[in-house]
Amino acid sequence: MAIISNAVTIADAGAFSVNLGSQVLIKTLTASSDSTLSFVNGSSNVVLDSTYPIYLFKFINIHAQTNAKSLMVNFSDDTSSHSYNLTKTTTLFYAYHTESGSSSALAYLPNEDLAQSTAAAEIIREIGNSNDDSGSGYMYLFNPSSTTFAKHFIARASVTQPSLAEDVHSTGYVNTTAAVTAVQFSMASGNIDSGTFKLYGIKDS
């Protein structure tokens, strides 16, 4: 870090450092009727490699263009032209409660998980597309650059559908020992109408 005052460099050369905390914002993407949003290591200032042992994605007010469509995630291990098609096994369960109080449940959703599938994994399910509907939450991705272990991810989101609140828990592993180099988000169908995606690195030291 340099200190520059009125275009005059007062101190430089990395000779001092300030502890800026262990959670470092890497990149923010803002959706605007996008079919996909991708975080690709080495592209657009994105870091998704061994720099950090844990990466944290935050989803803020993700709004679907098409009603009741889910936010999906997939991963790539390519180093250039990325294909998002890595094998995953996942679990997904949710709790919900209607605004009227007439219905609630805690349930596993066997049709919304993946078993060694290369398809995108659901992380925020069936987001409503009314103006005030959206989904917000997070996803941890552990050690994506490992070439030994499968890559664990843990996601949780709070979702609003018309007159309904959901708490969605989606976790699993990307079953590859190759380094994961990119992460892509999309809707199950239709575009990501709006919303903010933030990528943080959790520091190693």
Binding site: A13, L20, S22, T91, F142, F149, I154, H169
Partner: protein, 208 residues
């Protein structure tokens, strides 16, 4: 905080403290397993801070891998101490539930796991179950410990792990509960139920 460049003090006397954002999450300590029976974070030892400095501590676990016991009974587990790590035997009451799904798509699970909770038990609390020991199998996750130095309240914790199990399931484990003591908790220990921690990284953070 002073501002020092190449050994020369440019500013000092805390003049920068109010103006430089230093972040709310501070890495305290990293432990890397290498066939260790246990890994412990003890306040005051090896630069570990685990007292009233922070109201919340977060432990992150990256690819914890057991050395042996590739079975249903294997679990990654923890206990806490109120005597600086001499004894890890604080009474705890806890809850545990999990979801699971296998690679062949023949089984799914979502259930409370009554055999993994504690009712004033002083033993280690399981954070996972059935961890696999194939080369690419492991578990990763997080524990939050709240206000361990408090001498009024019991000490709450919450954890969430994803596990690549021995029988090729992905399992999502949740446990939460409290260490039922009004003494300050000042150490925490992690281990596998059977065998050593073959490899893995545990990182301890304080939340300002």
């Amino acid at each position: 905080m002073g501002l020092i460049s190449n050994g020369t003090t440019l500013l000092d006397a805390g003049a920068l403290d109010s103006g430089v954002a230093t972040g709310a999450m501070t890495l305290i300590k990293t432990l890397t397993a290498s066939s260790d029976g246990t890994l412990s974070f003890v306040h005051g030892a090896s630069s570990v801070v685990f007292d009233g400095t922070y109201k919340e501590y977060i432990f992150k676990f990256i690819n914890m891998h057991a050395s042996t016991d590739n079975s249903e009974a294997q679990e990654f587990e923890f206990n806490v101490s109120i005597d600086g790590g001499s004894n890890y035997n604080v009474a705890k009451t806890t809850t545990t539930f999990r979801s699971g799904h296998n690679e062949t798509d023949t089984t799914t699970q979502l259930s409370y796991v009554g055999s993994y909770d504690l009712a004033q038990g002083t033993g280690f609390q399981g954070l996972t179950e059935g961890d696999g020991i194939d080369n690419d199998q492991s578990c990763s996750g997080t524990i939050h410990i709240y206000n361990p130095a408090d001498t009024t309240f019991v000490k709450h914790y919450m954890s969430n792990f994803n596990v690549y199990r021995h029988n090729n399931f992905s399992a999502n484990w949740y446990t939460a509960g409290y260490a039922n003591t009004t003494s300050a908790v000042n150490a925490i220990r992690f281990k596998y139920l059977g065998g050593n921690i073959d490899s893995g990284t545990i990182k301890m953070y304080g939340i300002k």
